[in-house]
C-alpha cells in the first residue's frame, strides 16, 4: 500500500489532477459563475477520446489518461463559451495540437493554452476568459500554492512556475512603484486565481517548454513581459494566454541555443 502511494506520488500529474479537481469542486460549491456542470463530461470525454484516437493513429505504446485529463480540467476552469459546441471543439484542438504540431519529437504548445487561444482567434465573439471570476481569496491562493509546492517537489519543471511568478512580481510591483500606487494593487493582481492556475499548471508544462534551465528562465521572463504589456498597455484581458502561445513558438529556437536533456514523465 505504502509502496503504491510512493509510486503514485512520484508522478507530479497526480497532484495536478488532485489540485485542479479540488478547485473545480470548490468553484461549484462556493462560487457563482462556475462552469455549467454539463460541459465537464463533454470536455473530459473529448480530451480522453482524442488522446485515445491519436494514440492509436500514431501507434504509441500505451494510452495515458493523465495528461489529457489535466488539460480537460484546465479547460473547464478557465475557458468560457456562449455556444456549447465550442467546449468539445476547444478540447479536440487542445489534444490534437499535441500530436499534430510537433518539432523534433516535442509538441510546441501547451494543449490547454492552444485550445483557448485557438478559440479566441476562431470565435472571438463567442468565447472569453473570466480572470476576475476567481476573486482574490488569499487563502485559496495559499491552498493552491501549498498543493503546488508538492507538485514542484516532484516535477522537474517546477522552476518554471517560480521563474514566472518572480517575473510577474517584477513587472506588476515595478509598475506600482513607478506609478506610486499602494502595493495592495499589485498584490491584488498576484492573488488572481487565473494567474496562479496559469503559473502552476500551464506555463510549467515540461513537454512544451525549453529543456535548458537558462532557456526556461528567459522563456518565462519574456512571457511575463509580453503578458504584462498586453494586459496593462493594450488592455487585452487574455494577455497571459496569448503571451504563452506566441512564446511557445520560440521554444525550438531557444532549445537550439541552450541544449539539454529532453523531459520524460516518470512512469508511475
Amino acid at each position: 500500500m505504502l509502496e503504491r502511494l510512493r509510486t503514485i506520488s512520484q508522478d507530479p500529474r497526480h497532484f495536478q489532477i488532485l489540485t485542479l479537481g479540488s478547485l473545480l469542486c470548490f468553484l461549484f460549491f462556493f462560487y457563482d459563475f462556475a462552469p455549467a456542470i454539463e460541459i465537464i463530461p463533454f470536455v473530459v470525454g473529448t480530451c480522453l477520446l482524442t488522446q485515445y484516437v491519436f494514440t492509436k493513429v500514431f501507434k504509441l505504446s500505451h494510452f495515458d489518461f493523465r495528461s489529457p485529463f489535466i488539460t480537460s480540467l484546465s479547460l473547464c476552469l478557465l475557458f468560457k463559451a456562449s455556444v456549447f459546441l465550442l467546449y468539445p471543439i476547444a478540447a479536440l484542438l487542445a489534444i490534437g495540437s499535441k500530436f499534430v504540431i510537433r518539432y523534433e519529437g516535442k509538441h510546441i504548445f501547451n494543449p490547454a493554452n492552444f485550445g483557448i487561444v485557438a478559440l479566441l482567434f476562431l470565435a472571438p465573439d463567442m468565447v472569453w476568459i473570466s480572470p476576475g471570476q476567481w476573486g482574490s481569496a488569499l487563502w485559496l491562493a495559499l491552498a493552491l500554492a501549498a498543493f503546488a509546492t508538492l507538485v514542484l517537489l516532484t516535477a522537474r519543471r517546477g522552476d518554471m512556475t517560480i521563474f514566472f511568478l518572480l517575473s510577474w512580481v517584477f513587472f506588476v510591483f515595478g509598475r506600482a512603484l513607478w506609478l506610486g500606487d499602494p502595493l495592495s494593487i499589485p498584490l491584488l493582481s498576484m492573488q488572481s486565481g487565473a494567474l496562479l492556475i496559469f503559473a502552476f499548471f500551464m506555463i510549467s508544462d515540461p513537454k512544451s517548454t525549453p529543456d535548458h534551465i537558462v532557456g526556461r528562465a528567459l522563456f518565462t521572463f519574456v512571457t511575463a513581459g509580453i503578458a504584462y504589456t498586453l494586459q496593462y498597455h493594450f488592455q487585452i484581458r487574455e494577455g497571459l494566454f496569448y503571451a504563452l502561445f506566441f512564446m511557445s513558438m520560440t521554444t525550438p529556437l531557444i532549445d537550439s541555443f541552450f541544449k539539454s536533456q529532453r523531459y520524460q514523465w516518470r512512469q508511475a
Partner: protein, 455 residues
C-alpha cells in the same frame, strides 16, 4: 381548467439608499461638509466606444458643486452632453431588484393565479488667458475649456501631480487629503482630467431646479471606471450602482470577483411594506459575508424583454441617448404575458452591478470587460399569499399543515438573508396574515345562505 392571469399595476417602493455622488469625487469650493456615499453610473460600451452617464443628485448649493474625473482621452465639447435625470432613473427602476407576489390556489378548486409585481427602484466658465498662463507655469495644460448646459468644463493634462494639485487649489477646487499620489498615478498612465463645476448663470437661466447628469463619449481601449479618487472624501464605505449597456453580453470586472445577489427566495408577506429596508439589510449581510471584496450582480438581461418587468421597457430613443449607438432595426420578441420592447431595440444587453467599497478592499479602479454571457439574471424575491377563503375538503387539511412549515421556512430564509431577529420576523408575520396556526376555513352558514350569499 382555465388559468386566469391577472397582473396588478406596478407599485413603486423606494429603497432608502440615496445616490449621492459621481464616481469621481466632489471637491468643495467652500468648506461645505460634503461626502459621497453612492453613485449611479451608466456605461455603454461597444468596440472601443464608451459613453458614460453619471447621475447627479447633489443636494447642496450648486455653487459648491465640482468634480474631477480621470478620463483616458481629451474630451472635446461635442463629446459632452447633459442628459435628463429621467433616463438614468428609468434604467435604474427597470433593472432594480424586484418583489413578486403570487396567490395560492384554492387547494380544493380550480387555480386562480394572480401576479403582482413591485419594483425596488434604487433611490438610490470659460478660462481667460491669464489662467492658461498660470496653468502652464505649473505644468498643467488646459486641453479644452467649454460650457455645456449648466456645467463649465475643463479637460486638463498635467506633467506633475503637485502642479495639478496646486493649480486646482488655486482655482479653489478643494481636494481631499491623499489625492496627490493618486493624481500622480493617473498622470503617469497618461490619463486626462475632466473637471466640471456649475455655471450658475446658465443653471439659473436653464429653469432646472436640480443638476442634470453629465454624459461623456470617448474612444479608448480602456474600459474601466475610476473609483480611487472617490474613496478619499467618503465617510466610510460607499455604494456604486453601475449599469452597462452592451451589444454582446454581461459586463464583469476582471480584477474583482462578481457574486450574484441571492434571488428567487420565498419571503414573508410583510416584506412588501418594507422592501427597501429588506433589500438594504440583505445587501449589507451579503457584503459582510463576502468581506466587502466582491461586485454584486443585480440584473443581467437582454433589453428585448423582461419577466417580470419592474418598469416599462426603455424606448429606443432613451437607449440611444444613453449611448446605445448600434441600435438596429430588428424585431422585438413578443412573448405571451410579458412585455416586449417596441420592434427596434433588441440588440442591447443590460448589466447592473452594485458594489460597496473602500480604499482598502477596492484599491484599484474597476477594470471591466464585456463577455459573451447572455444568461439572464435578476434579483427577485417572492411572496406567496396563502389561500384564505373557504376550503372544505381533505386536501385543505394537508394544505394548511404544509402552510405552517412553509411560513417557518420563509421566516428562516428572511433571517438568513437579512440577519434580522427570527422572533421579530415571526411576530410580524403573525400580524400580517401569516399565522402559524392557520386552519381550513369552513363556511358554517346554512346552505341556502351560502347559495344566495345573503346571510
Amino acid at each position: 381548467m382555465k388559468e386566469i392571469i391577472l397582473t396588478l399595476t406596478a407599485l413603486m417602493v423606494f429603497m432608502p439608499m440615496q445616490a449621492k455622488a459621481f464616481c469621481g469625487f466632489y471637491v468643495a469650493k467652500a468648506d461645505a461638509d460634503l461626502f459621497n456615499e453612492a453613485s449611479k453610473v451608466v456605461m455603454s460600451r461597444e468596440e472601443d466606444r464608451t459613453v458614460m452617464t453619471m447621475a447627479n443628485d447633489f443636494q447642496g448649493d450648486v455653487k459648491d458643486f465640482a468634480i474631477v474625473i480621470p478620463v483616458p482621452t481629451v474630451i472635446k465639447k461635442s463629446q459632452v452632453n447633459v442628459a435628463d435625470n429621467k433616463l438614468i432613473d428609468h434604467l435604474d427602476s427597470y433593472t432594480a431588484p424586484r418583489l413578486v407576489e403570487y396567490y395560492d390556489d384554492n387547494p380544493c378548486h380550480q387555480r386562480v393565479y394572480m401576479e403582482a409585481m413591485r419594483s425596488g427602484a434604487a433611490p438610490m466658465t470659460s478660462m481667460d488667458s491669464e489662467a492658461f498662463k498660470e496653468a502652464k507655469k505649473l505644468g498643467v495644460t488646459i486641453e479644452e475649456s467649454y460650457t455645456v448646459g449648466e456645467y463649465d468644463i475643463l479637460i486638463l493634462s498635467a506633467k506633475e501631480s503637485d502642479g495639478l494639485l496646486k493649480w486646482l487649489n488655486n482655482e479653489s477646487y478643494k481636494l481631499p487629503k491623499g489625492a496627490e499620489p493618486i493624481l500622480k498615478s493617473y498622470i503617469k498612465q497618461d490619463m486626462k482630467f475632466f473637471v466640471a463645476k456649475v455655471n450658475v448663470k446658465e443653471f439659473e437661466s436653464s429653469g432646472f431646479t436640480y443638476l442634470r447628469p453629465l454624459q461623456v463619449a470617448y474612444e479608448s481601449e480602456k474600459f474601466m471606471l475610476p473609483i480611487r479618487l472617490g474613496t478619499l472624501n467618503a465617510k466610510g464605505p460607499q455604494d456604486l450602482i453601475l449599469m452597462t449597456l452592451t451589444k454582446k453580453g454581461r459586463v464583469e470586472p476582471v480584477n474583482y470577483r462578481t457574486t450574484k445577489i441571492p434571488t428567487g427566495n420565498d419571503i414573508p408577506l410583510f416584506v412588501a411594506n418594507e422592501f427597501g429596508d429588506f433589500y438594504k439589510a440583505m445587501f449589507a449581510t451579503q457584503v459582510e459575508k463576502e468581506k466587502m471584496k466582491t461586485v454584486f450582480l443585480e440584473y443581467a438581461w437582454d433589453m428585448a424583454w423582461c419577466d417580470p418587468c419592474a418598469a416599462d421597457p426603455l424606448q429606443p430613443e432613451e437607449l440611444r441617448e444613453l449611448g446605445v449607438w448600434w441600435l438596429d432595426e430588428g424585431t422585438g420578441m413578443m412573448l405571451p404575458g410579458r412585455r416586449a420592447m417596441p420592434p427596434q431595440a433588441v440588440n442591447a444587453y443590460v448589466t447592473r452591478m452594485h458594489v460597496r467599497y473602500d480604499a482598502k478592499t477596492f484599491p484599484e479602479d474597476l477594470v471591466l470587460q464585456v463577455t459573451e454571457d447572455r444568461q439572464n439574471f435578476q434579483g427577485r424575491y417572492v411572496m406567496r399569499h396563502p389561500w384564505n377563503e373557504e376550503a372544505d375538503c381533505e386536501e385543505a387539511t394537508a394544505y394548511y399543515q404544509d402552510l405552517t412549515k412553509r411560513f417557518e421556512k420563509e421566516a428562516k430564509t428572511l433571517a438568513n438573508l437579512t440577519g434580522w431577529d427570527i422572533s421579530d420576523i415571526r411576530k410580524k408575520m403573525e400580524e400580517n396574515g401569516q399565522s402559524f396556526d392557520m386552519k381550513p376555513h369552513k363556511d358554517e352558514r346554512p346552505w341556502w345562505e351560502q347559495m344566495w350569499d345573503n346571510g
